[in-house]
């Protein structure tokens, strides 16, 4: 058995340095001759937002795509909480969704659904950062639910509309469980986000995000991100984080969420007790 496997391998034509060195997770992006093509459009004329997309592409920059994480205008209680958090405890490492700003190299996609009445709900699907959850952006003109009856969720309640070629997504109803970056920057369930998604070419999708959380920040936060299309033919893969999750065992780490779940360690506005 060993011999036959080895001989099969010996017949393989791959070069000795295949695959190329690529420390970190790896997702290819479309080459310039494809990425520079015009923005594709749906039958109704709106931009076709389907990628798939990746934030950091082949360089596997991972967390580096977070912009100015240390310059966010945190109120004192939130900064104290952030400073007290340990990166080993970021919820994502325990298979939770990454949250609204978290980017990693794994691809994700927009799905612009069509119904008998025309364009329908837009879905965002994530290979990895969604923790298995799907985002829904309702395009039928509905309002957000009454705040008193809104049960907070990881992705909140999103409504969308087109402003020219830009998809504007308004979201409330987030829970307070995700970290805005791997350093532990918190937010509360008062977070309100406005995302402005613009596909400027086949290969480029810009997202300008406004964060409005007056309990966490001293002012509005404006962030700018750019996603890159994968080469045509590339698809999302299944990613079930709990399938074989052995995180922490090599280092003897405890799961701080066991028995109590995710969420802010203090009440919003309260200072963490040392």
């Amino acid at each position: 058995m060993i011999g036959s496997a080895a001989s099969l391998l010996a017949q393989a034509q791959a070069p000795a340095d295949f695959p190329p060195k690529a420390t970190g997770e790896f997702t290819p992006t479309a080459p310039p001759e494809i990425a520079n093509r015009p923005t594709p459009r749906m039958p109704d004329g709106h931009p076709d937002l389907q990628g798939p997309w990746t934030w950091s592409g082949a360089k596997a920059e991972g967390e580096k795509t977070e912009e100015k994480p240390n310059e966010l205008p945190l109120l004192p209680w939130a900064k104290a909480l952030k400073d007290n958090r340990k990166e080993q405890n970021e919820p994502y490492l325990f298979c939770a969704p990454m949250g609204i700003l978290r980017h990693n190299p794994f691809p994700w996609n927009f799905i612009q659904s069509t119904t008998s009445k025309g364009p329908g709900t837009i879905y965002m699907v994530f290979e990895n950062g969604g923790g298995g959850a799907v985002r829904q952006v309702f395009m039928d003109g509905r309002k957000h639910p009454d705040p008193d009856d809104l049960i907070p969720t990881w992705w909140g309640h999103s409504t969308g509309r087109w402003e020219g070629d830009t998809l504007v997504v308004d979201t409330v109803g987030y829970n307070d469980k995700s970290w805005l970056d791997s350093r532990g920057t918190p937010h509360t369930d008062k977070l309100h986000t406005i995302e402005r998604w613009t596909r400027t070419s086949y290969g480029t999708l810009v997202n300008d995000v406004t964060l409005d959380d007056p309990v966490t920040f001293s002012q509005l936060v404006q962030l700018h991100f750019v996603a890159h299309a994968l080469p045509p033919g590339q698809e999302l893969m299944e990613y079930v984080c709990v399938d074989n999750d052995q995180y922490g065992v090599a280092a003897g780490l405890e799961n701080p969420y066991k028995g109590k779940g995710f969420g802010l360690e203090v009440q919003p506005g309260e200072f963490i007790k040392k």
Binding site: L8, P19, G24, F106, N128, N244, A250, A251, L253
Partner: protein
């Protein structure tokens, strides 16, 4: 299957960790860049899974006992996108490997390189952006 193996060699090479001081992802949390490991053994099992692929390698110690290493690789999705297939990494193959020991459990290590019997080298297998540069150029 009775492994025919070369003894494990423990490296003493010290990795410069200035960049790791700024690390903020799971390599430095779980693995120790100052504790490189290497060995040669027989692949017992390959798990093509998420969030990480794992490869279990049986290494015979000088006293004849067998140590099974549990070696963490990147996500199976990324490894597929780099072109690796199940036929490339199979149980029964004799391979050599280098990596970095777990902070508490030495035999749970992050893989740096695996060298296959046909000479092909699987490099940069660790999933973390703050992992040390591969020891293979």
């Amino acid at each position: 299957m009775r492994p025919h193996l070369i003894a494990l060699v423990s490296g003493l090479f010290i990795v410069t960790t200035s960049s790791l001081a700024l690390a903020h992802h799971s390599f430095a949390i779980e693995y120790d860049a100052t504790k490189p490991i290497e060995g040669t053994g027989t692949i017992q099992k390959v798990e093509w899974t998420n969030p990480h692929m794992r490869i279990y390698i049986d290494v015979t110690e000088p006293n004849g006992s067998v140590t099974t290493w549990n070696l963490e690789m990147g996500s199976v999705n990324s490894i597929q996108r780099r072109g690796w297939k199940p036929s490339d990494l199979k149980a029964g193959l004799k391979v050599s490997f280098k990596g970095y020991a777990g902070r508490e459990v030495r035999t749970r290590a992050a893989i740096d390189v695996i060298t296959l019997p046909d000479g092909r080298v699987f490099k940069g297998a660790s999933s973390a952006p703050d992992a040390p540069p591969s020891s293979v150029p």
